[in-house]
Symmetry: C2
């Protein structure tokens, strides 16, 4: 999917919501545990109930790997279901991978080609040659960790390196990499006030923003500092939506939570188009 296609979808749906499919068998409704593939059954119900309210889905691969072969199969079924039924929805493999060059190529092939995700999240610690293999795939996107939403972000990411915070160095240096136009960035909503500075460095790039809701981030703040002329934001919510209810009405409850966020986003988009 091209960035332009994503922007069109955002405008059409009046939503820049990404729903995180972080499925924990301890948290899903009990009646689903009798299904042959409970994780996929859960995802399918959530997708069927929310696909008109969001523009992206983001399974975090950890939750699938934790169930071994079965989990991997559920991930495959989920992405195939999305690609077949909702090809205009942007898909993110939240894998946070990154390795030496030839190994990153294997990861890129796994997520962007074989599983056919539109994008994958990647960690920057190993530098240019660990990220560039992901950037070579046409109309695919690499979402680089810049400033994450957890407390540990302050251990290294916000430390000053050669006169500038590490996460800003990541933004600046990554802009010089080959095919850097295929880069997006993870920036946590819990640090919305950092977004103004970030937009100075990467005015054009899309940002994937976790941490709205469960982690305490504020949607209005994120939009105020982070939105650009092409919207440039994907706001992720996982637990706040998918675990809205543990009963048989879980999918409807998820849709209600998703719609609440979508409506707030529609207001933001409306204000933005008038400004």
């Amino acid at each position: 999917m091209t960035t332009n296609q994503l922007v069109q979808e955002i405008k059409k749906k009046k939503s820049f919501l990404c729903i995180g499919l972080d499925v924990d068998l301890n948290k899903i409704p009990e009646h689903l545990l009798q299904e042959e593939d409970p994780i996929f059954a859960f995802n399918k119900a959530i997708i069927d109930a929310t696909h008109h309210l969001c523009v992206a889905y983001k399974p975090n691969t950890a939750f699938y790997e934790a169930y071994g072969l079965k989990g991997w199969k559920s991930l495959e079924r989920t992405i195939h279901y999305l690609n077949k039924n909702h090809p205009k929805i942007f898909t993110i493999a939240d894998a946070k991978r990154g390795d030496i060059g030839n190994t990153s190529t294997m990861y890129a092939k796994a997520f962007l080609e074989d599983l056919a995700f539109d994008s994958v999240t990647v960690a920057p610690y190993m530098g240019k040659d660990s990220v560039e293999p992901f950037l070579t795939f046409k109309d695919k996107h690499t979402i680089l960790l810049a400033l994450t939403s957890n407390q540990g972000a302050f251990d290294f990411q916000t430390k000053t390196i050669d006169g500038k915070e590490l996460y800003k160095q990541v933004l600046e240096i990554s802009k010089t990499w080959e095919n850097s136009k295929n880069l997006m960035y993870v920036v946590g909503a819990t640090k919305a006030e950092f977004l103004a500075d970030i937009r100075q460095i990467i005015p054009e790039s899309f940002l994937l923003v976790p941490g709205v809701g469960a982690q305490g981030g504020n949607l209005q703040e994120v939009c105020k500092y982070g939105m650009n002329s092409q919207i440039g934001l994907l706001i992720n919510s996982s637990r706040g939506i998918i675990y809205a209810s543990k009963e048989k009405d879980f999918a409807e409850a998820a849709a209600i939570k998703a719609e609440e966020l979508q409506k707030q986003m529609a207001v933001e988009l409306d204000c933005h188009s008038k400004s």
Copy 2:
């Protein structure tokens, strides 16, 4: 496995060799492609031929994920084979994971509990709460990326942050984390001269050293600067051993290459015990 048990194995086998099981179907002997599970058939043959020469095996998960469900199955079969037949051999899931707390817990469970690896490699970018969930597993080890062997290591890892290189900050700060005694570190052999400084910060920790052989690192240099009173080194070689031949003699050829390294290691251990 405890660190002490690993040290005993090193002394017994006169080897601190780790063999990287990075299996690429384009590089293995053609006759294996007719097997039902070519990757496992390859690994089994390599393990059967080399287990007396090394103390650790390290599958890089990228090479398995690249083959989807089949690859994940091959990884499961490989670790089960090792745990069943060679329980004294240290196993490393080279996964370079790291995510927010509850997600890291899922990864830790997948690799250390379900697959029952002795250790897993983890990236430090997201800080303390992304690594600590891995450290809670008893007699398991978390191998944190410090200074990697690729060119991209110079993009961020060696940059100066608050007066000290980032990789040194990672070493120092990680020492303060809960259960930090369960930490080991990745330090690339291509930067052996950095090892003296590294030993100042973490005199006791085990180092996993990739980059000897194919990437140009030098064994003697690594031992000179990196060995400590408990040996403290695992030297990894992947391609140089497992792809020594593409013919039917591939396992024997791998054993010959592994033995060459093991003999050099025996000399180093001998000198070390006398010094």
